[in-house]
């Protein structure tokens, strides 16, 4: 190709050489005939014709005509853009932001929703969801029924649909003997989990069946991250022994970088030790995953598991005297779903909403750019008319206009990639913590492809408007232009008007979405979460494993001791602990309770959420006591049969909080009746947008299941401290020291203020809110700019008409109103269309809304009104310029 280009240069020179000689010879001839040389030269030239044109024709014989005239066009376009840098920069920046934002959001969407999970043959992976619609009360705190150990053992032994099945649960363990004691996140996995996920070990080997040892002494595996962090990536770590919850465990291997158990980022993999003969039916706390046999559809797997549930009830029991088929009441049914759905979870709607939102902003930006291009094309009307008159084809002019917009689109896209890169970093920083697969988010080939597509599409989109306007018809192209026409042609104004209507409609949809999110957020803020002033409430988690302290009574004493030390810290006004704190996502304890004096024969007793609290916890958390009183330490150590219930539960069982005091209930038949000594307000355990579950609060130490003389203590509890110093590093250090002063082997974990937990539970809403608010603001600004631009252009185009009207006696205020009115009509039409669209689209956002209807009348009234007021202002400013027009000047001009 290069060779051809160089050869061509020579050919061109030879051609002009030929032609020069031709001219010279003809001139000589004429001179010989007696003509003066000067005249002869002129004559020869005239006879010869247009040398430049001939040279071009000659050259064209050699060119790849299409490509090269394209290159020439692009050269012209670049030159022209360079001559109006303001225009070029405005357009490219607008597009860069629009395309960049879209690319960033698309990258997230692609990484989270579209890309397959990072396991081999991920389409075979499923999560074993079970629904239990017949278990009353369960839905208040659980969206599904988790698996029990016996279920897993049944499924693993008898299924026909799966290659492998496993269950797991997140947990924590303290690692001691290395440096400072450290609380790490563990994934407790049964056999079959690693086989299901099927990712080979990075070093060493997988846990084997021998590690699933019911004495709990199996080996462990490390995550890549923990291995790097704690062992500096030492390959000799395999085979070494570490102390997990004070027990020596051999390290079997290290999993590769980025490996997660479903969506859980663990530090240490600990084998679950099931007793294959003595497990019970109950104990629904494990998450099940499985790998389907090739070609087995979900429905078949569902059917398989459904039949296995009968086998499960036939094979296991909850102890002597219990009816294993009682669970038929719960109507347990499998709802097996692709593992990806489990990983992605509820973020799906948010991401699609954000993507759609950003897409609409892009459309609005394109509309604005199209408007700019139209104005520019108007200014070039004369030039285009001249070219058209000289024989430039319609296609040729259209092509050039389109090419110009494509060039702008591509420039914008190129700049957009860097915007997207920055945007992604921002997004991963401010995005909701529950955003899954965060570490997998990246700009990949798909994203770049998407950018390219978007650049081209947007270029075509906003370029098509002026191209269609100017190319197909020469009717409006007059050499003199429209300067003498009285007013701007209706047709030309109509295109611009349509764009304003579209912009207003799109902006309205976005603004309504944003306002609905704001109102959702406000509604959530007004909900009493069941605790007060979260910013001054410090929380930390602490586990006392039975391998460290075997005796439950000692555990309680140790926790009491720690509380005393924490209370003695400066600035601490109150302390307490509970097995779980609201919104922390801890796996809840739950079961049914029986009320004294009520006959439960044949009843399906509702499930209640359980929590276990220390004296002082409610006061510290700011959970109001509605009736009765708190536990005392004396009662805890006496193991008095007492309990506290939530307001909702009290009302349900006994009618009112006051009536509940002194009543009795128990969990199982041989348990002593427990007396209700207090009723506390309802707590939004799963987030302010979820119902408050009916809750029973037990003392943190109770008589064990095996009767008097046995103890049962909560070993993992959240300590809560009320202090204005909450959240400061000094405070956290003092807390750690206070704990270590009781036992130096106790690591603290999950240190945060209640405010952090509270905000995180609302992160999805606030993220959507922020994104929609940004998009809505951009849309409003762009829309107002659009209206301003159109009116101000109309005013400048209609100066003559205004002059005539004024000369004929029109009042200035009437003229201003004329323009404002036209803007209001456009806005009104746009708003009407937007309202219709919003009414349809907001329903899709329903799951993101709280405490507000997707057709909230306040929002649907206020937003259009605001928009119309803004439009009136935006049109009034340029319309006022009419008052400055001097009719004499206007008529005399040109």
């Amino acid at each position: 190709m290069m060779k051809r280009i160089f050869a061509r240069k020579r050919l061109y020179t030879e051609m002009s050489e030929s032609m020069q000689e031709h001219l010279a010879e003809r001139t000589e001839e004429l001179v010989e005939e007696g003509m003066p040389r000067e005249e002869a030269e002129r004559m020869a030239r005239r006879e010869f014709g247009n040398i430049a044109l001939m040279e071009q024709r000659g050259r064209e014989a050699w060119q790849w005509q299409k490509l090269e005239s394209l290159l020439v066009d692009i050269k012209h376009i670049c030159r022209r853009l360079g001559r109006s840098p303001g225009f070029a920069i405005t357009v490219v920046l607008t597009l860069a932001i629009g395309i960049g934002a879209n690319t960033a959001v698309f990258s997230v969407l692609n990484s989270v929703l579209l890309r397959p999970l990072p396991y081999p043959e991920p389409q075979q992976l499923v999560s074993l969801h079970l629904n239990a619609p017949g278990a009353p009360g369960l839905a208040e705190f659980r969206s599904e029924l988790r698996l029990s150990a016996s279920m897993y053992l049944t499924f693993a032994a008898h299924n026909r649909a799966f290659q492998s099945v496993g269950v797991w649960m997140p947990g924590t363990a303290s690692i001691t003997g290395l440096a400072q004691p450290e609380q790490v996140n563990t994934a407790q996995i049964s056999g079959g989990v690693l086989e299901t996920l099927n990712v080979p070990a990075f070093a060493g080997q997988w846990l084997t069946a021998a590690d699933q040892d019911s004495h709990g002494l199996g080996r462990v595996m490390l995550s890549y991250g923990y291995w790097q962090r704690r062992f500096g990536g030492d390959p000799g770590v395999v085979g070494r022994t570490i102390k997990v919850d004070s027990q020596s465990r051999v390290i079997a291997g290290v999993m590769p970088r980025g490996f997660k158990v479903v969506n859980y980022d663990f530090d240490v993999l600990v084998p679950l030790a099931f007793d294959t003969t003595n497990e019970q039916l109950a104990g629904f706390s494990y998450r099940g995953i499985a790998r389907l046999r090739p070609g087995v559809p979900l429905a078949q797997a569902d059917a398989d598991v459904a039949s296995l549930l009968n086998v499960w009830m036939d094979s296991w029991s909850n102890g002597p005297g219990s009816d294993p088929h009682w669970y038929l009441n719960w109507k347990i049914a499998p709802a097996i779903q692709p593992l990806k759905d489990t990983v992605v979870g509820g973020i799906k709607t948010v991401l699609w909403v954000v993507m759609a939102t950003i897409g609409v902003v892009m459309l609005i930006a394109c509309t604005n750019v199209a408007n700019l291009l139209l104005v520019r094309a108007d200014a070039r009307q004369q030039e285009l008319a001249v070219r058209s008159a000289l024989g430039a084809g319609r296609w040729r002019i259209a092509r050039e206009l389109l090419l110009e917009s494509l060039t702008l689109g591509l420039l914008g896209g190129a700049a957009g990639v860097s915007v997207a890169y920055a945007g992604l970093r921002l997004l991963t920083a401010v995005g909701p913590a529950e955003l899954p697969r965060l570490s997998e988010i990246s700009l990949d080939g798909w994203s770049i492809g998407f950018t390219l597509m978007l650049s081209v599409l947007s270029g075509l989109l906003f370029g098509a408007v002026p191209a269609l306007r100017y190319a197909p018809s020469r009717r409006h192209l007059t050499l003199l232009g429209g300067t003498r026409t009285v007013s701007v042609s209706r047709e030309r104004q109509r295109g611009r008007n349509l764009m304003v209507v579209a912009q207003v409609a799109m902006a309205l949809v976005l603004l309504i979405g944003a306002v609905l999110m704001i109102r959702t957020f406000m509604a959530m803020r007004t909900v009493d979460p069941g605790f007060s002033d979260p910013a001054s409430l410090q929380v930390m988690r602490l586990s006392i494993p039975d391998t460290l302290v075997r005796d439950p009574l000692t555990v309680t004493r140790m926790q009491n001791n720690i509380l005393d030390k924490l209370t003695a810290m400066p600035g601490v006004s109150s302390t307490g602990f509970a097995a779980s704190v609201p919104m922390s996502g801890a796996e809840p304890a739950w079961n049914n309770i029986f009320v004294e004096g009520k006959n439960y024969e044949g009843d399906n007793v509702p499930m209640r959420l359980f929590n276990f609290v220390s004296p002082g916890y409610f006061h510290t958390a700011g959970t109001r006591m509605l009736a009765g009183r708190d536990f005392t330490w004396a009662e805890v150590y006496d193991m008095r049969p007492i309990g506290i219930v939530s307001e909702g539960l009290a009302r349900e069982l006994w009618g009112s909080p006051q009536a509940a005091i002194g009543k009795h209930f128990r969990e199982w038949e041989s348990m002593p009746w427990h007396e209700v000594i207090g009723v506390v307000q309802d707590v939004r355990e799963n987030g302010v947008d979820q119902v408050s579950p009916a809750t029973v609060y037990w003392p943190s130490m109770m008589q064990g299941i095996y009767g008097p003389g046995t103890f049962d203590s909560r070993r993992t509890v959240y300590f809560a401290l009320r202090s204005p110093r909450a959240g400061t590093q000094a405070f956290i250090n003092e807390m750690q020291q206070a704990v270590w002063s009781v036992n130096a082997n106790l690591p603290v974990a999950d240190v945060s203020t209640m405010q952090d937990i509270y905000s995180e539970s609302m992160a999805r809403t606030s993220f959507t809110l922020v994104m929609l608010a940004i998009a809505g603001t951009m849309a409003l600004a762009l829309g107002i700019l659009g209206i301003y631009g159109v009116i101000s252009y109309a005013v400048s185009q209609r100066t003559r008409e205004i002059g005539i009207r004024m000369a004929l006696g029109a009042k200035k205020s009437e003229l201003v109103w004329m323009f404002v009115r036209s803007a209001l009509v456009l806005t009104g039409v746009g708003a009407a269309i937007g309202l219709g669209a919003a009414a349809g689209l907001m329903r899709l956002m329903q799951t993101l809304l709280f405490g507000i209807s997707p057709l909230d009348p306040v929002t649907f009234t206020a937003v259009p009104v605001v928009l119309i007021v803004a439009a009136a202002l935006a049109s009034y400013l340029p319309a006022r310029r009419t008052t400055a027009i001097d009719p004499v000047e206007a008529l005399r001009a040109e």
Binding site: L11, E14, M15, E17, S18, M19, E21, H22, A24, E25, R26, E28, E47, F48, G49, N50, L53, M54, E55, R57, G58, R59, E60, A61, W62
Partner: protein, 114 residues
């Protein structure tokens, strides 16, 4: 060269045939070619420079002609065009089809005349 009002457009390919035939007789440079055609046709045919030079380039590209450096009758450097074997082949093919067409036209005209 003022436009001759009786001048008619040549049919497509005619210019090429004349250029090829003229150069087949003797390689020439551009100006000589114009003069040659004008002279041989007794001023009946005029070749416009506007058509000639682009046509020469097209024929060079097709490989019917080749060019070499040379000097004009007045001793100035110029390009001398020469017919290639491919050019001769093309010319013969074109002449045959031209003759067919011409005899066809003649017959039609003869019928109209009688």
């Amino acid at each position: 060269m003022a436009k001759n009002p009786e001048h008619r457009d040549l049919f497509p390919g005619a210019l090429e045939i004349m250029i090829l035939q003229s150069l087949r007789v003797k390689p020439m440079h551009g100006y000589a070619l114009v003069k040659h055609i004008k002279h041989v046709s007794d001023d009946l045919l005029q070749v416009e420079e506007g058509s000639l030079y682009p046509a020469l380039q097209r024929m060079l590209r097709e490989g019917w002609l080749e060019s070499e450096a040379g000097v004009s009758a007045k001793g100035r450097p110029t390009r001398i065009y020469r017919v290639t074997d491919a050019g001769v082949g093309h010319l013969e093919k074109e002449v045959v089809s031209f003759e067919k067409m011409f005899s066809g036209i003649t017959r039609v005209l003869a019928v109209a005349g009688s």
